[in-house]
Structures are given as structure tokens and as C-alpha cells.
């Protein structure tokens, strides 16, 4: 579904991604793990188009999209829940969700009902402004908003950041459910053990290079990964 070939990306003159190669097949959960500053978020931002690619190719369903504007990529079926949630603070929870479906010509009520089903607390708070939600609720809102676009590929950036363990389980449980519904997920996490545990495959990113890739369960067992990211 998504193929990344020799992708480079930079902030000004500081190169962040170096010849990254990566593949996400339809129906998979792929985890992207690595320490702070490894370039995980930059990679997702380059995929969603809010950060330009310096060189390399991004193929989505066989089509090159690396020069495409972010809003056009949403229309193709790539939707991102960004790091730090980035909800529309002054707008109501429901307006946040409706805006998630901005690019769909016929936004059906089912998707909204489905998101409320998945995160009932959002339904309870649908009239209040997004900025008055707790961190965990904002995270659910960010994911729900991304789902409103009815994406084929969902990019999740640090969905567990700053959340209590119980909430992390709830959010990652939701990700597994999405997979069962046929949504392909690329998951960026610092919480490597939790991410690899639910992933089909994983990539380890270090200072902008892919240094390891493999099945999620294999990476969990890999001594280098355990030493570097799992604190074992």
C-alpha cells in the first residue's frame, strides 16, 4: 500500500532522514520505534505532506505522492493523528470530528457514530470545546478526527505520549480494532514494547536511518532492541 524509497528530509540545512526505505502492506499494523530525535515524527510528517521531502519517492497504492500537497493526500486516503494531538481548541468536540471528514464529499453519519462508539467519552462531551478535554480525551479526539476521513492508511504519532497506563491500553486496543476493520496503520511510538506487541512488523529508526526491521515479535526479542529501547 505504501512504499518509501530512499527518502530524505531536512529542516533547513539539518538533514533528518537519510535514505529511508520502508513498506507498509495493506491490512498491517507497522510500528516505527526509536529514541527521541530519531526522525520518527519527521518521517510521518513527510508522509502526510506537511513536511517536504528533499529527495526520494513515496508511493501510495503505486502512485508517487511525494510532491503532492497535504490536503490532496488526505483526499487519497492518508490521514494522520499528529504528535501532541493538535486539536482545534476553541471548536467543539463534534466540530473537530466533522472537520476530520472535510475532504469527503458525502460524510456519512455512520462514521461519526462509529467514532463515538469507539470512544464513548467523546459522545458525552461533544458540545464542549476541545481545549477543555483532558490529555487522554484529546488523544482520542485526535485519533477520532483522523478516522473521520475514512482513511485507507492511518498515521498515528505517539498516541500513548503522556497518558496513564490504563489509557495507553485503551488506545492501543482501539488500534488493534481498527486493523480488524481493515484500516492499515503506521504507528510511531517511543513506547517500543507496547507498539511492537501489537504490530505485525516494525522498523527501528536511529538518527534518521532505518537500522533494523522485522516482525514485531522478532524485534521484541532482539537483544539490541531490548537493550536500546526496552530498558532490559
Amino acid at each position: 500500500m505504501l512504499t518509501v524509497e530512499n527518502l530524505n528530509s531536512a529542516y533547513g540545512r539539518i538533514a533528518v532522514l537519510h535514505d529511508v526505505n520502508l513498506e507498509v502492506k495493506a491490512g498491517e499494523i507497522v510500528a516505527l520505534v526509536g529514541s527521541n530525535g530519531a526522525g520518527k515524527t519527521t518521517l510521518l510528517r513527510t508522509l502526510s505532506g506537511v513536511q517536504p521531502a528533499a529527495s526520494g519517492r513515496i508511493l501510495f497504492e503505486g502512485k508517487p505522492i511525494e510532491r503532492m500537497e497535504a490536503h490532496a493526500r488526505v483526499a487519497l486516503g492518508i490521514s494522520q493523528s499528529p504528535e501532541g494531538r493538535q486539536v482545534f481548541g476553541p471548536l467543539s468536540v463534534e466540530d473537530n470530528l466533522r472537520l476530520g471528514a472535510f475532504r469527503r464529499r458525502s460524510p456519512d453519519k455512520n462514521t461519526l457514530a462509529h467514532v463515538y462508539d469507539m470512544f464513548p467519552v467523546l459522545a458525552e462531551k461533544r458540545r464542549i470545546s476541545a481545549m477543555s478535554l483532558s490529555g487522554g480525551q484529546q488523544q482520542m479526539l485526535a485519533i477520532g478526527r483522523a478516522l473521520m476521513a475514512a482513511p485507507k492508511l492511518l498515521l498515528l504519532d505517539e498516541p500513548s505520549l503522556g497518558l496513564a497506563p490504563l489509557l495507553i491500553d485503551q488506545i492501543l486496543g482501539a488500534v488493534v480494532k481498527l486493523k480488524a476493520e481493515g484500516i492499515t496503520v503506521l504507528l510511531v511510538e517511543q513506547n517500543a514494547s507496547a507498539a511492537l506487541a501489537i504490530a505485525d512488523r516494525g522498523y527501528v529508526l536511529e538518527t534518521g536511518h532505518v537500522v533494523l526491521e522485522g516482525k514485531g515479535s522478532d524485534l521484541l526479542e532482539d537483544p539490541k532492541v531490548r537493550a536500546a529501547y526496552l530498558g532490559v
Partner: protein, 290 residues
């Protein structure tokens, strides 16, 4: 009492125009964090454009429509040629660009139009209407009615349509707006276009009362800016209340103190607001949770 009522009428009339200019400020500020000091020049283009097109023999309603469309084109060009290329510059730099654009528009207007004062015939005659011992011109009712209509339309657009929400969303979080598929460039162009239309419409309806010249935009921009600040920059309701308040204070200042100080009122108010209520009357935006 009759004198008081008379001052209220004239204050509300001119206040309605300030409110429309302030609404233009609000819309662009909401979408882009830019305070567009060329906002007053849209008022001038609306008035002067209508005067000159009407003088060329075009029927008044059509001339007004053409002038408004002209102002919208100027607004879109302002966005496309001056604001969009500077995307990513600081708001202060963008504000300076709009001041430059305002001077440029005035320069062009001197050449295209002229340097004289002009007026338009009142839409529904000049026979004053008696109300409680005071009089009100039919044109004043036009100004207030049009302002009310535009305010309601803008409110419905922002609150009830997804496109309007997308504009508010772009203001709240531009990155997230791009991620949900909003084309931010088009949203900003829309804000400039609609603001220009609002300003130009204000210019058309107010010209029979206040006259117009190539440089009237400066005063409208400053008063409208004061109104937007009083109401709390970014708040449409605040813009309207601020505009009416500035208009009323100005009328009372002129009536009870001296008309010499009419223009000073707005600036005294803006200083007081900046000292004591920097967020304006309606600008109590709460702190965002991290």
C-alpha cells in the same frame, strides 16, 4: 433628550461602518493572525469605484456591484501577491506588508480616480424621518440594515457551515487544518476576498453620508482597528459591539465636548483598552491545556 437621541442615531450610523471594518479585520485575523491595515482601503474602493462607474453612466446598483467585485479582486491580489509569498514570515512583518499595500492602493487610487471628495445620491431620498424629536436619514437606516445583514450572514457562515468551521480551524491550528485536508491557501484567499467584499459594501452604503476620497481608508482602518481591539481582536460579536461603541463615543464627544476632538475619541479609547483590558471586552480566550 432630542439632542441625545440625535447623537445616538449619528453614532450608530458611523459605528455600524466601523463595525463592518472591524469585522473585516476579525475575519482575516482569525484565518491568518494578520491585522490587515489595507482593510479601510476596501471601503474607499467600494465608494470611489461606485462613484466613478456611476459617473460613466452605469446604473447605481450595477456600479456598486462592480465596485464590490473590484474590491474583492484587489483583496485576492493582496493575498496572492503580498501575503502568500511571505508565508511563514512573522505576523509583524505581514502587518507591515499590509501597511505598504495600503499606501500602494492609495497611490494607485489617486491616479485611477482623482484627489477630490465625491458623494453618491442617497438610496431612498433625503427626507429625514422624525423619531422622538430627533431625525434620522433614510440612508442611516440603510447603513444599519446592511451592517446587521452582513453580520448575521457572517455569523451563519462561521457557525453553521463546514467551510466556515474550516476557517476557524485554520485559525486555531494551521498544522491540524492541513492534516484534515483543508487547503489553507484557499481558506486565506477566501478570508481576504470576503473581508474586501464587506469593506466595499460598507463603502457603498456610507458614501452618501460621509463622502469619499482616495485616502479615506486610513481613518476607517484606524477606527475599525480600534473597534476590533475594544471588542477583542478575533471576536465577530466583539467587533460589532466595539464598532458601535466607538461610533457612539465619537458622536457624544463631538456633540457634548467639541467636534474638534471627534477623531481623538477613538484613539483615547484604544489607549485605555490597551492599558486596562488588553484582550478587549470579549477577548477572554482561556489558556490551552498542554
Amino acid at each position: 433628550m432630542a439632542e441625545f437621541l440625535q447623537l445616538v442615531f449619528s453614532g450608530l450610523t458611523v459605528g455600524a461602518v466601523y463595525a463592518l471594518v472591524a469585522l473585516g479585520f476579525t475575519l482575516i485575523y482569525n484565518a491568518s493572525d494578520v491585522i490587515n491595515f489595507a482593510q479601510g482601503d476596501f471601503v474607499m474602493i467600494g465608494g470611489m469605484g461606485t462613484v466613478f462607474l456611476a459617473a460613466a453612466g452605469i446604473a447605481l446598483p450595477l456600479a456598486a456591484l462592480m465596485a464590490i467585485v473590484g474590491a474583492v479582486i484587489v483583496g485576492l491580489l493582496l493575498h496572492r501577491l503580498a501575503i502568500e509569498p511571505a508565508r511563514g514570515a512573522s505576523p509583524v512583518a505581514l502587518i507591515m506588508i499590509t501597511i505598504g499595500a495600503s499606501i500602494f492602493i492609495k497611490g494607485i487610487a489617486q491616479v485611477v480616480f482623482d484627489k477630490q471628495f465625491h458623494s453618491l445620491p442617497a438610496f431612498s431620498g433625503d427626507t429625514p424621518i422624525q423619531v422622538g424629536g430627533a431625525t434620522i436619514l433614510p440612508q442611516s437606516l440603510w447603513v444599519m440594515g446592511v451592517a446587521l445583514g452582513l453580520f448575521v450572514a457572517l455569523y451563519l457562515f462561521l457557525e453553521k457551515t463546514l467551510l466556515g468551521k474550516a476557517l476557524l480551524a485554520t485559525a486555531a491550528n494551521r498544522l491540524a487544518a492541513r492534516l484534515v485536508g483543508v487547503n489553507v491557501t484557499i481558506i486565506l484567499a477566501l478570508a481576504f476576498g470576503v473581508s474586501a467584499a464587506i469593506g466595499a459594501i460598507a463603502g457603498v452604503v456610507v458614501t452618501p453620508i460621509t463622502l469619499t476620497r482616495y485616502d479615506v481608508g486610513t481613518m476607517f482602518a484606524l477606527k475599525g482597528f480600534a473597534a476590533a481591539m475594544v471588542g477583542g481582536m478575533g471576536n465577530p460579536l466583539g467587533a460589532v459591539v466595539g464598532g458601535l461603541l466607538i461610533g457612539l463615543l465619537e458622536a457624544f464627544g463631538a456633540g457634548y465636548i467639541s467636534s474638534t476632538y471627534k477623531d481623538a475619541v477613538a484613539f483615547v479609547v484604544i489607549l485605555l483598552v490597551l492599558f486596562f483590558l488588553p484582550r478587549g471586552l470579549f477577548g477572554g480566550r482561556s489558556v490551552e491545556r498542554v
